[in-house]
Symmetry: none
Subunit: 190 residues, 4 copies
DNA sequence: AATGAATGAGCCTTCATTCAT
DNA sequence: AATGAATGAAGGCTCATTCAT
């Protein structure tokens, strides 16, 4: 059937939105149920508990983002081209999944995340870290801790996305190009 | 006497640490009391309730950070010198107040923050925004939304601080210089 | 179904009994829950909070008592006949609702009662007051403040009911007749 | 010294007023301390605990009321004269001690009252009961449970006092005479 | 499979009581 | 003797989770 799948998806989407907007602890199961148009008990048919739902959600989107990053990654391209791919992945991913990147960025620390989720997140970090480390080796990327470089790029992007959602700025192609250029300047060696 | 003042300080410090590490909602009053070596009821001698404690804390540190930023700000200096002052303010402030900047960065949105706190935070944003807007006018700062520029500088710095605390990198003067340079390149016009 | 209705009723009945016996402040939610054979949280499915439960209860029984008073009230009867109806209403009402009249008598002052409840209680007072005022006009009722007359009749009745429950006296029809006669003599003009 | 005695009196008076107005459970020690212009801890210098304070208070005023009743009681007078004495005792006692009679009437049941207090209250009841029983024997008092008769007289009086305090009626000597007459008619045999 | 009523653990908060000053 | 800061037990209430329907 497709109904069951839809319920699961509804729950995940409601969870994503609420976790992103209010944080894990301030989000209640009834809230998720209500937003998903589902009985509270139904959530427990698809997820063991709130923590599991959260982890499932986290993994679902980290996986998806990883796929987005990996799909069409120009292994043989230049450092700049690879950066462009990464940046565009964020754009595309966010277009398809409104709150996902923000959710990932604000919920990537243990306490609720289980080992598997942490490991998966590591994978995401590693992918980006590898890129930066390689770039540092060739001298094209600035000599800074990779984590910090990652934070700059992700953090800036998420902040921009927020401004767009608030209506503070218009998300024109030009803005995105500027933004990419800016981030690139932020991490590239000078 | 000093005893009374100390209790209040103990509570604030415990709150700061826990709010920073676990977030507002995941931090319980008993946790704060325990970490402050204080009875749970004692907290209510100094603060109306959890929300008030949080706001008091927030304002205390935003005010302190604002003072740090304003003290010795080179109004007549170059854009670069002013940037340097801002960056060094973050360094000094974080040295004196471990978790404060991270706490501010992760708790600056309403829902628990009252109007006064939000207004105070605006003041902090405005200070930095003014700097960036002025820089954009003279063509020294990149044409990007000020909020995003702020996010880059703050976000990167906090991320670095975290790496330092985790022991992932050593906070050498050289690292800080590199970092400042990097952040500067991230926001300056090219 | 009937189950849901029963839970609500169980809670109301437990609340009535406890409020009557111990007073509002000395009655705890766990007490009510326990006496109603219900989880503490269940009470909050049916009532917003303790105060609301109290008000609901109060209104439920004041309404019921008002109905009892109004049903079959001999508008065209003599002053004495009307008095008889009022007295018998108390008897019948107390027979059906053990603690209700005592609860009403001991909880009719603000601080926990909301406006609606106070207004409803006024209605009850007004009904009886109207009776006494009319009687005073025709010279059949003693020239005393209606409130005091009401207190005499209600107060005496409740006291009697208490003696009956304690087993101190037997509630024979004869006793009730005597009692009614006594109350009548207490308020009628001489 | 006299200071100590005064503090004790201040506390008792504050307690009386608050217990009468809010009831025992809704009255807090800080409230009493504040109204008595005394530190909260001071209360524990004069009374073992809240319960003891309450009992002390209760006994103090029941004793005082008993004295008022007994002083000048016309043992050899007529039933009517004795009634008059009882009624006037209430008037005088209430004049000297605003809330005392109401406090006694609303707090005469166990749960907070200790044995000694209950016994003392019994004494008060017995005094009045004896009067009524004697009257019933001589046929001058109505054949009703003494408790109920007591309730009528006390209840009516307290209700009247309340109306006076609320300003709903003026406490003229005439009103008091009428009231006494009414109460007398309420209990006397016809 | 889906629901939502029911539960009770645990949180925030109050307040009787203690105790250092 | 007097104070009021400090405490922690206990109450009102929420919410993750279960379970009968």
């Amino acid at each position: 059937m497709e109904t069951a799948t839809n319920k699961r998806k509804d729950i995940l989407e409601a969870g994503l939105m609420l976790f992103a907007e209010r944080g894990y602890d301030a989000t209640t199961i009834p809230m998720i149920a209500s937003k998903a148009n589902v009985g509270a008990g139904t959530i427990y048919r698809y997820f063991v508990n709130k923590e599991t739902l959260m982890n499932q959600l986290f993994r679902e989107y980290v996986t998806l983002f990883l796929e987005t990053l990996r799909t069409g990654y120009p292994n043989e391209g230049t450092c700049r081209q690879q950066f462009s791919h990464i940046f565009n992945s964020m754009v595309r991913f966010t277009l398809d999944n409104e709150h996902a990147l923000y959710f990932i960025k604000t919920h990537n620390r243990p306490r609720v995340l289980d080992e598997e989720s942490v490991a998966l997140y590591q994978e995401l970090l590693d992918f980006t870290r590898d890129y930066f480390e390689a770039g540092k080796k060739t001298g094209e990327i600035r000599k800074m801790p990779a984590n910090a470089l990652i934070a700059i790029v992700f953090g800036a992007f998420i902040q921009l996305h927020q401004l767009v959602r608030e209506g503070a700025v218009d998300e024109t192609p030009q803005l995105l190009r500027d933004y990419e250029e800016s981030c690139w300047d932020a991490v590239r060696a000078h």
